[in-house]
Symmetry: D2
Subunit: 337 residues, 4 copies
């Protein structure tokens, strides 16, 4: 159950309202949105008379029951889409924000060359893996802390905010200068990590697990928001199916449904979804036109020599061409790039 | 192995060349494409000296080994895309041909109203199910032969070519006036039906089975073309995955890969892929921008009362709006609608 | 809704009862089971007062609502399991009937040698493919009508009943001497074929489609039984999943659930389920202990030279060993082999 | 590449041999098995002349190339199966070890009653969840540290070793008194956790992820063993498929293949695999006969009131009956229970 509050209610009135519910045994989550503040009740609300609450509390504009298991991330709580700001960059409704960079940070020269190039092409955020989850213990595991240092340098040189994947909750301090913390697909249901990034004050990019449903992704986002961090960006990156010609199967219906069911920003990753370079540009355009709020795409200055995922990385010229194609199309979608 | 012939070779020269191979125990398929004629050898070609064949046969321009199991539908055989004509309508590279109509033909009034409306909105081909494959024996099974009669009437009134699904090879005569014969997803590996439609002189719309790989779809197309009918249109319509929020999972990578690997036209069906009306327009736009040659979309004059699949059908106004959106976008994709 | 009739009701009384329902607009299916006769009503039974019907019709013992979509195959209609007899052979509760033979009939010598050997080892029914559904049009398609002739000969020589796969409804006459007609996985939703085998007077072995749910399998069985043929044997043969190390994923829960939800006999096929010879014996034992009524297993006198599926076929000695292991275990499961 | 050493080689000889390889740039893993000690080389061994190494090193009995990505867990390294001992309990070839207990530890009374009962029925190890990974942040998350305390008490009272799930690497100290540390399905590719449990001196029960392949499971085991802990027990617990009638699809082929490809013990969990109580006993028997080394099954003294997964838990009498059925069958499988 959610109660939408009137605008400009005094803080002590809100606290009093919240306290009343907690004394009745409910948990509450206060959710400040673009247009209004909402109070979500967690617990068995079957016995609550919604109309009575609205009538007897003059700070409450209206209330609604939420039938889904996800509450605070539910579109019912905030009809207006959540918009997230990272420095000068905006992620959310009305924008199409492109995040780009290498699968793995390899050296200062590599990350700087890529950062400068993708910035020039129009990318707004730099991605780069420092800690790499790899199926084999013998595969390259990323440059680790040193990789984060290289990213920081590239950020300083180019002004691009940076996003990188966190592997576990003990690393949170390491990510102090990282602007957006990424929770990878394999960690989508690492609930302790979700709770931990729910305690930080910066955006979290949450990737869908390769065999997780849309509802499970929303429940994982709920973990983060319920823990106190409303800045969650959802990311579709392909699911595991029986098809073997592609690495995964990009589920674009998920992008549309996530936007319908939640107020959170939704982006997609065509690189991991396909695993094949030549599929990335057409899928990227598809991601734009279905209504995603952005794109995460892997680029490399020398894909043939990349230490990780070279086969799915665009080179810098290909990325530049893709960005031109996206800009032409973004106008029709009323998206600012 | 395929041999690309020089232009304007005399028929008897070709026959002689083909006969030579058949005498050596190979099967051959003569494939006439947009730009050239090709001779495919089927059999164990490990011992064939490709260069020697080219040097000693002056009708042969060049030859190539085909490593894939699919031969005549392989892009290697015809670099230029196959373009199919149905009356005035073109399906293939450079075009974006929209097929629309109800899941099921219900009455003369229904099909005529829909046909006139979708024609006005820009659809080029009318679809309508007469024989309906239904999971339950107690569900509406379609108007059957009478439904084909209604379609024929709508074709006569509007001039739109018609496409309808065939259920088995004994029905081929019934489909005499149907312009494009559809083989449904459940029949994609009904090999006797594939051979049968390989013997007719009209285009076949072949839908991907709900658990079939891209390669298996190409092998099923190979059945039809190898049986003598080169006019096959491939159709992606969503695959079965673990996700339950949508009816199926639309696999847009498949559209791109099918276009890369085969010279046949490729379209997609967002209605069956999602099963949800509100997902159809965004997915339709995505189908356009990934490079499909067309779209098959369900429309109904009264979706709430439809005898079949109402929840995924657009009403006529929604379809008209979608067509406007598609036309705006088709220009950028260099597609004629 | 189903009405269980009292024992020994006069035929005219039953006809009268049935006629009454049909006059009210319901379809009815009369189902004669091992313990009683039942009348299933098909149609909207929401307005039918079940108690009233029982009270006012003295031929009715009791009635039940059936909430599932499958009606006549539902365990609710017949608590006692359906038992099917083919000559001297019994398939159903209390028995564990082994069907064995080659993927494909290749020659008189081959099929006879295999038939004699598997009979000696304890197989009760001979399988052999005459018409083979193959992904590639260039692969061996079976010996066709000639293959059926060879099977007939082996049946005559050994006395073993035979089972073989039908590809489409035009072949029904060809299968006159085949004791059990198999509908393959790819044809599980070939509804015209289901209706056709619903019109014959012999058992049908219905294999689960590789991406079909348990409920869909039961609905396909319902097609056959509703068309008049109550002798359906369900067969689990592995489903398509993301795992690539095996050909399919054997779903043993399906065997248990099918036995719970339906009164029809249920068998399983470990050969197609795994595609790997060394997995067949352990899976066969698992099929026995979960409660299946039988097993279909591929054997070949010379697997290395088999024209089809050699890698998953047991040789005759391996089959003999497996049968010994199964017999030892069948006692504990109270199954007659 | 692996080198199998002769028996009774002096430690300094082995160290010298290992050092030689490390000086050439290879990583090495020393693996002490039931029958022999092996040295695995990790790195590009294409240039290593295997025969030459065997001839020139008299401590080496023979060597083999390992083509699979998993090395130390590979059956090639140890033909003899790894057998793990926990107190008096043995897990591995020749045994069928049953682990039982509640999904979640709820109280001292509950865990003690269950522990005493399952011990009496023949279970050898007690399971109980203290930290519960739950899809919803609002669902019961387990009794946490207090739950571990209750387990410890039950262990003390009954003498049963205990197994419980760890959620992240910061909890390792908390698990000091836990005999077997379980890594859950959602954490199968939490590589930092795998490395962490690779550093402890007790057995790790590694569950297959719900969308992970057999090969990926072996690679995750490789992480643990390569990090220094050879005591890994693999657990199949059902994979995610399109079927919705069961919670997951139990993959028994995986059990057989894991035993073939690795020397590690393999068990299975029919409770999570099916999610339905009535399926647990038949699946448990199937797990025995395919050759698993044990079983993990959920039991509860009052399933209807269980705080977690009640629908799939056996009550104590049902478990006792199952154990009797398993004991009867274990004799034929030459398994000690």
């Amino acid at each position: 159950m959610v109660f939408i509050l009137n605008p400009d209610v005094a803080k002590e009135k809100v606290d009093e309202f919240v306290l009343g519910w907690e004394q009745k045994g409910f948990s509450t989550i206060l959710s400040v949105g673009t247009e209004h503040t909402a109070v979500c009740l967690i617990g068995n609300t079957a016995g609550v008379d919604l109309d009575h609450v609205v009538e007897t509390n003059d700070i409450v504009s209206y209330g609604k029951r939420i039938t889904e298991q996800y509450k605070v991330v539910n579109r019912t709580v905030h009809e207006a889409s959540t918009v997230i700001r990272v420095g000068d960059v905006t992620i959310g409704e009305g924008f199409f924000t492109v995040i780009s960079g290498p699968c793995s940070v390899e050296s200062n020269e590599q990350i700087l060359e890529i950062a400068q190039s993708v910035k020039k092409s129009g990318a707004k955020i730099l991605r780069g893996g420092a800690f790499k989850p790899r199926t084999s213990p013998y595969a390259f595991q990323g440059k680790q802390a040193e990789g984060l240092e290289m990213l920081r340098m590239a950020k300083k040189e180019t002004g691009l905010p940076i996003v990188s994947e966190i592997m576990n909750q003990t690393q949170i301090d390491l990510f102090e200068d990282v602007d957006i913390v990424q929770v990878g697909a394999r960690n989508m249901q690492n609930f302790d990590l979700l709770r931990a990034v729910g305690g930080i004050k910066k955006p979290v990019l949450l990737k869908r697990g390769l065999a997780n449903t849309i509802e499970e992704l929303l429940m994982s986002a709920e973990y983060i928001v319920a823990a106190g961090n409303p800045q969650v960006i959802l990311c579709e990156r392909g699911i595991r199916s029986f098809e073997t010609m592609t690495r995964n199967t990009l589920d674009l219906s998920a992008v549309v449904l996530l936007k319908q069911k939640s107020h959170l920003p939704v982006i997609a990753d065509p690189s991991h979804a396909s695993g094949i370079r030549s599929l990335v540009p057409p899928l990227a355009k598809a991601i734009l036109v279905v209504g995603a709020d952005g794109l995460m795409v892997e680029t490399h200055n020398n894909p043939a020599q990349a230490l990780c995922d070279g086969a799915q990385s665009l080179d810098l010229a290909q990325f530049n061409t893709l960005m031109e194609e996206l800009r032409e199309r973004a106008v029709l979608e009323h998206k600012i790039m």
